[in-house]
């Protein structure tokens, strides 16, 4: 009897499916000790554009889902992650060389982050908006609305291979946006395993799309994409981030600049950066 393992083939996550890069490209990812870990897909411009199309078509029904439903789906992601906690801890160790305790704590924090945002879906609107006492006979209400399709670059920072990814995705999903995430270049395998969690968590296909590859190669196409509404640069630094922000100006994309939030930060403001305030006026009268 052989104890030879069956290694996983890492692909992309687009539209709820796991396609290979249309470019046929892969790149090797090594363990911290230099040993071979896996070949992962190297996403191309075409993959990025396909991911935006998938995100756009998934957006309206996700945005239109009830807050209760979105909350349950996000909670379901936490449940699925919990069930595979040991696997993720091992993958974090394999990818980053984290200690077992640190890896376990990171998985725990990722689960807690998902639960925290799951609880916000049906509370955010009340805290964010409300009735405006205008000086006239009008009903006037400000409510949050999703921005649309977001692009996010997951951070590379230490201790964030899973947590940084979750901390990027969850606030974007909370109020109904869809997202194309560029996985951390240092831990793409963890990100693609998280895609398996999403795929089994009632998250509608296309709401989250994850691409692995070279951020500097893919990001410019996404930052200049006319059908992208917001751009989270939390995981990017330097000239790549500046160029992305400059491209985003052409379509007046909402940009979250690097260092606006910590790599693993969870905050109300992070949700608020992915909503539009919509104010509705209606006349009042007895007529």
């Amino acid at each position: 009897m052989s104890d030879m393992t069956i290694p996983k083939t890492y692909k992309l996550f687009v539209g709820g499916k796991f396609p290979r890069s249309e470019s046929g490209r892969t790149h090797a990812v090594n363990r911290p000790d230099g040993g071979f870990l896996a070949n992962v897909a190297t996403a191309s411009r075409k993959d990025a554009r396909d991911a935006v199309v998938a995100a756009r078509s998934a957006w309206s029904s996700w945005a239109g889902a009830t807050a209760y439903n979105r909350g349950q789906v996000l909670y379901r992601v936490a449940e699925m992650l919990e069930g595979r906690g040991a696997q993720f801890a091992q993958e974090i160790i394999d990818s980053t060389g984290a200690t077992p305790a640190a890896a376990k704590a990171e998985v725990r924090a990722a689960i807690d982050t998902l639960v925290w945002y799951a609880g916000w879906t049906d509370k955010f609107a009340q805290v964010f908006g409300g009735a405006n006492p205008v000086a006239g006979p009008f009903f006037n209400l400000t409510v949050p609305d999703s921005v649309g399709v977001a692009v996010a670059v997951a951070p590379n920072a230490e201790g964030s291979s899973l947590l940084g990814l979750v901390a990027s995705i969850a606030p974007i999903l909370t109020m109904g946006n869809s997202v194309v995430v560029l996985a951390s270049e240092s831990a793409p395998c963890v990100a693609m395993s998280f895609a398996e969690v999403l795929a089994t968590s009632d998250v509608p296909g296309g709401v989250v799309n994850i691409l692995t590859g070279n951020v500097a190669e893919i990001l410019p196409w996404l930052a200049s994409h006319a059908d992208v509404n917001s751009l989270d640069l939390t995981g990017v630094e330097g000239e790549v981030a500046v160029e992305a922000e400059r491209s985003a100006a052409e379509t007046l994309m909402r940009v979250i600049r690097p260092r606006t939030f910590g790599a693993t930060e969870k905050s109300f403001d992070r949700i608020a950066r992915f909503v539009e305030a919509k104010t509705v006026w209606h006349t009042k009268s007895l007529a």
Binding site: A135, T142, E245, R246, T251, A277, T279, H282, T283
Partner: protein
């Protein structure tokens, strides 16, 4: 003889006490400008009102340094309640001198005195009064306790609501504890310069408010790129907004943009038709259509289109176009020759692209810049007049059959600032409001503004909100380390 003809009822300009020329107001003093000067003219007569000094980059540098000094030494150290008292004083002073400002705004901008008197200036005072009360309540703004001001705010405002846009910018900035350098629009600097007198009467410390008229590409550019500025707030065209966003890429300068629009005003067959006609007129002919949130695309349900358009034309035929100082005037002068050219150029594409043009037949003065209210029917979504912001008294009428088609057509625009819905069915109204991709939705009304009510756009209409709690957060950051 026209039986509706009224005797002229001009508002007197005797209340004005203008200077022949104005410099820049920096660090609590009037100083000379170094970027040349230009006359600000009345667009209704083309006569010069005053000579206005134009700031160059060096002047902007002085203004930013003055604002920084005032921020560091005075304004950031003052308690919120004290800051608020200055703003309350400003609100009261503006109320006391409301008529003077209304007349000045009408002379400089060309908009009817009825609007400056009843809408612009009262809202200006209301804006300062509202934000005055925020100054000592910032812990409740939603950023946690002890939020901090951003520092020096550079503010660039347009010519369509000159003093009101100043209020939208200056009031929340000061309430939040920032100091400001404000550049008024090239064609309408007058009331911003008069506002200096209000600041002085209020005893506002030197350097807290600096007013620097100038050209966009000189003074505006210098302000946007000045390393001492922490925040840029801009209201104006989408193309300039794009340019500013590009310039600020890679910096830590906070940015809010309130840009163009192509608002859809949607009329269903069950609407109160007469009210919808009034609302449509107000939506596009208010302020000569120089309104970023104007209802410039009228979407009428097909089965009431003919009846609605007929009533609309009948109503528009009663509009009085002419001397903006006349209290009976509904539609005043176009703000500038340049804007008139733009309105004429875009309107000229209407008929060649297949639309039918109807223009109000009325006499207009010989001097000045005038454009008669115009309605295009038979417009398709791909027409230039249905896509581009005209920023003038020009309405494009389209039709729809189903609510979904109305939503699709309304949202088929790179802009997303405003929309209107006219229906008596509440459930339909609410579903439409949910689906419209616009920052402001007016239902059975249009073009309403209030300092408590957040205003701002989706998509290429910009980002950030002005008004209410959301407006003050645009000038604050969470306290503590970040």
């Amino acid at each position: 003889m026209n039986l509706r003809e009224l005797a002229p009822a001009p508002e007197s300009t005797a209340i004005l006490n203008l200077r022949d020329s104005y410099g820049l107001y920096i660090d609590g003093r009037w100083v000379d400008a170094h970027g040349g000067s230009m006359a600000t003219i009345s667009p209704a007569t083309e006569k010069p009102i005053a000579e206005i000094g134009l700031a160059n980059a060096g002047d902007i540098d002085l203004a930013v340094k003055a604002a920084r000094k005032a921020y560091d030494t005075v304004w950031s150290r003052m308690s919120g309640s004290e800051r608020g008292k200055y703003l309350f004083r400003i609100a009261r002073l503006l109320q006391e001198r409301a008529r003077e400002f209304a007349v000045a705004e009408t002379v400089d901008n060309g908009k009817p005195i009825r609007e400056t008197r009843d809408i612009d200036i009262p809202l200006v005072a209301a804006w300062f009064f509202h934000y005055a009360g925020w100054a000592d309540k910032l812990d409740f703004a939603g950023l946690g306790t002890n939020p901090r001001a951003l520092g020096v705010a550079g503010q660039i405002i347009p010519w369509n609501f000159p003093l009101l846009m100043l209020a939208w910018k200056v009031a929340p900035a000061l309430a939040a504890g920032n100091t400001v350098v404000l550049k008024p629009a090239e064609t309408t600097p007058l009331t911003a310069l008069m506002f200096v007198d209000i600041c002085e009467q209020a005893g506002l410390p030197a350097g807290v408010v600096n007013i620097v008229p100038g050209l966009g590409e000189v003074a505006g550019q210098a302000l946007v790129t000045h390393p001492g500025v922490n925040k840029i707030a801009f209201t104006g065209s989408t193309s300039v907004g794009r340019h500013i966003a590009r310039e600020l890429a890679g910096t830590d300068v906070a940015l809010t943009l309130e840009l163009g629009g192509k608002g859809a005003n949607i009329v269903f067959d069950d609407a109160a038709i007469d009210e919808a006609v009034e609302g449509t007129v107000n939506g596009i002919f208010f302020n000569q259509g120089h309104v970023c949130c104007a209802g410039s695309r009228l979407l009428v349900q097909e089965n009431v289109h003919d009846e609605f358009v007929e009533k609309l034309k009948r109503r528009v035929s009663t509009l009085r176009v002419g001397d903006p100082l006349d209290k009976n005037t509904d539609v005043g002068a176009i703000n500038s020759r340049e804007q008139l050219d733009r309105i004429e150029a875009i309107s000229a594409t209407g008929e060649p692209e297949g639309a039918s043009r109807w223009t109000l037949e009325c006499a207009v003065p010989k001097a000045g810049f005038w454009f008669r209210p115009t309605i295009f029917t038979g417009v398709s979504t791909s027409n230039t007049i249905a896509r581009e912001e005209i920023f003038g008294p020009v309405l494009s009428v389209l039709t729809f059959r189903t609510p979904q088609e109305a939503l699709d057509k309304a949202n088929n625009s790179p802009y997303g600032l405003s929309a209107g819905v006219w229906t008596q069915t509440a459930s339909r109204m609410l579903t439409m409001a949910d689906g419209l991709r616009a920052g402001v939705v007016w239902s059975n009304t249009f073009n309403q503004f209030d300092p408590t009510s957040p205003f701002g756009g989706y998509k290429e209409s910009g980002f950030g909100r002005e008004g209410g709690r959301h407006g003050v957060t645009a000038y604050l950051a969470a306290g503590g380390a970040r």
